[in-house]
Subunit: 405 residues, 2 copies
């Protein structure tokens, strides 16, 4: 089996550049006219690229598995998403741009409503607005910032949701949820799932006690529920494993956070538009040899069920981004997504994701235009797991030497 | 996952014959007219075979990995090339046809030029001619053939390159290179990479000392550098695992050596031409049930960047070899390569390799002619790892029974 250790021994450094364009949630399903979002979009530039590329359909995790943003991105960055599972607490911290560090433990929190006996009446405290969430987290922060030498950070997310980060020596993410998932019962005690987590579980329970002491007279949010305890993983950096000097161009905190996790340099983007991202790429093109270029809204429109908006965004990328990327003449231009988000499903899905690798070293296949079905039936890579994509990018950029003599 | 142990339990012996035609480095890339070497060649016989075969594109090691001849061949012989890594020293010994044995340790050597302080001035001794290399190895052999009970064989290869083989009890290939890879510094001492290699490292260092004593007055080759220490592996034989009585028809030492490694009988070929190989096959056809038939020069012409010569050789195989193989009516005729060597790249590459399995038991796919793209987009096997090929050959020859009831 191919491992990162195996690849590492083959890595050769050279100045050749790789651009990885990730259109989040790009894969789709046919609408009532029988076309997916990609197929409905007018994409002359992408179609031209496909003609000269090797293409295939990638499964981010494995056939039939729907990935979250974490696993979807880790796979295309060259990390086995099953081996490197990023906990929900950590992802939530990354999602708000919190500067989480190695060995921090993070958990997702809900503000909730408890009755006079401490039983859960409403797991979401009537979905309180973000403003109230901010006020409550501020109040908690004023009262609690340290327990038994462990620093604690409480950060609002959205509506009734917040994140809590524990920082200090000897913490572990192997702690059970306190959210009972039903109402009418007491919240659960945090318990250690492994012996090394006993200290953490103790601190979590003390923390909850003190939070409830702090907000017990609030209404409707007089309690909290925590879940998804997880440690920020000590994941090998892309520079160590793949010999790359990588940079990330993304506008949303979650993706910057995921890129930082694997050791990418996070480049500043002045604005939220794809044009701003292109500017950043051009300004920094000389400084790095691997660029992760993230387009967020293909996924957002898919989740909204907005087929047409997703189509238009794909067309915009074709018109505004692709020619700019080509003008830089990278050794490898890879175009893909982290998963599918079909507008007709309004959610991430288990469908394969088109992958297009454009390089003068590619052996072109028979796919003639950008389409899930065209690539899926005429693509030379067939159907494969996304964690292999980094190997393909490296080899086409001549960054891997021969294995064995 | 399929393992050799799993397959072994399913093996059934019968008289059915398998011919495996390996055109070394057969896969290519399009030339300026948009055709690969295979596509440019006129191959009516191969095209006919493809129509009635099941075909696919194989990755010798894994997607994006460029294999050397060792891993490329081991995979098609049914050995996981990552599990069974053959060291460079051993491959060099196989390459000159040295009768290397189980538990021998071999290393590649360079004659080099050292200054009066023993520093490396030229790692290749001005690329001395093979004749001088032969004279020097002879001189060393006269002076040194044993150290501390370990027999030592020093054999010329080409130009400044030689091989040294250590034979005796308790040796290990886990010894570091002495080649510093740069000039102006002292050569490195051989060190044990694992405890069990301490004895070997000691003998290597004594050997180097005595060699330098022997050639110190030579010019320009007054020193040596060793690298790629490796043990001849104790690999299971094809007869044990696959129940085959296999024979190899090859003209170059490296391939005979690789075939011997997996327990094939090496058949004598009277000459270096493909016609000579066909003769050998016909003469021995009754005696074995698996024939590895190797064509070397497809790779050589690829490495030379000689597109047309590679095309002509493919046409020659089509005209002179294929009809002869068909006339023997094997139960399975498999046609493939150990890797791609595109003439435009002049080196082994990471591109997939066409695999064609012709058998009355095959379910033909839609591929109509011999071409990487035709097979890659219409082949029924899709894209797969080459280590699975032996299982396909065995099953189509009815040599594997049902798994489970």
């Amino acid at each position: 089996m191919i491992t990162q250790q195996f690849i590492k021994k083959l890595v050769v450094k050279n100045g050749n550049k790789i651009i990885l364009l990730v259109m989040d949630g790009i894969g789709g399903l046919p609408n009532e006219f029988g076309k997916t979002e990609i197929e409905a979009a007018y994409t002359p530039n992408l179609d031209d690229i496909v003609k000269d590329s090797i293409t295939g359909i990638a499964d981010p995790v494995s056939l039939g598995i729907t990935p979250g943003s974490g696993p979807g991105h880790l796979a295309i960055f060259g990390y086995d998403p099953i081996e490197w599972e990023i906990g929900r607490g950590v992802l939530a911290a990354l999602g708000i741009g919190f500067p989480i560090k190695k060995s921090d433990v993070a958990a997702r929190g809900n503000f909730a409503t408890f009755d006079e006996n401490g039983r859960v009446i409403d797991r979401r405290a009537g979905r309180i607005p973000t403003e109230l969430c901010k006020k409550l987290t501020e109040k908690i922060r004023k009262n609690i910032n340290e327990i038994d030498g462990i620093k604690i950070f409480v950060e609002p997310v959205m509506d009734y949701r917040f994140v809590v980060i524990f920082r200090g020596e000897g913490l572990s993410g192997e702690v059970s949820d306190t959210d009972p998932q039903i109402t009418g019962v007491l919240p659960l005690k945090a318990t250690a799932l492994k012996k090394e987590a006993e200290k953490t579980a103790g601190i979590v329970n003390k923390f909850i006690e003190r939070v409830i002491e702090t907000i017990k007279d609030e209404h409707p949010a007089n309690g909290i529920l925590l879940r998804g305890f997880s440690e920020y993983p000590d994941i090998p950096k892309m520079s160590e494993v793949y010999g790359l000097n990588p940079a990330a161009i993304a506008t949303y905190p979650m993706y910057k956070g995921l890129a930082k996790l694997v050791g990418m340099n996070i480049l500043e983007v002045n604005g939220m538009e794809i044009e701003n991202e292109v500017e950043t790429l051009k300004k920094n093109y000389d400084k790095f040899d691997f660029f992760y270029f993230h387009v967020k809204k293909t996924d957002s429109y898919g989740e909204d069920g907005n087929f047409d908006a997703k189509v238009h965004l794909i067309e915009e990328v074709d018109r505004k981004v692709i020619p700019e990327l080509l003008s830089l003449k990278p050794s490898v231009l890879a175009i893909t997504g982290d998963h599918s988000t079909p507008s007709v499903m309004k959610q991430h899905s288990f469908h394969g994701v088109p992958f297009v690798l454009y390089s003068k070293n590619a052996r072109p296949d028979r796919a003639e235009y950008f389409s899930e079905r065209e690539i899926g039936t005429k693509g030379g890579l067939g159907r494969f797991e996304a964690k292999n994509e980094i190997v393909l990018m490296l080899s086409h950029a001549m960054k891997l030497k021969k294995f064995g003599a």
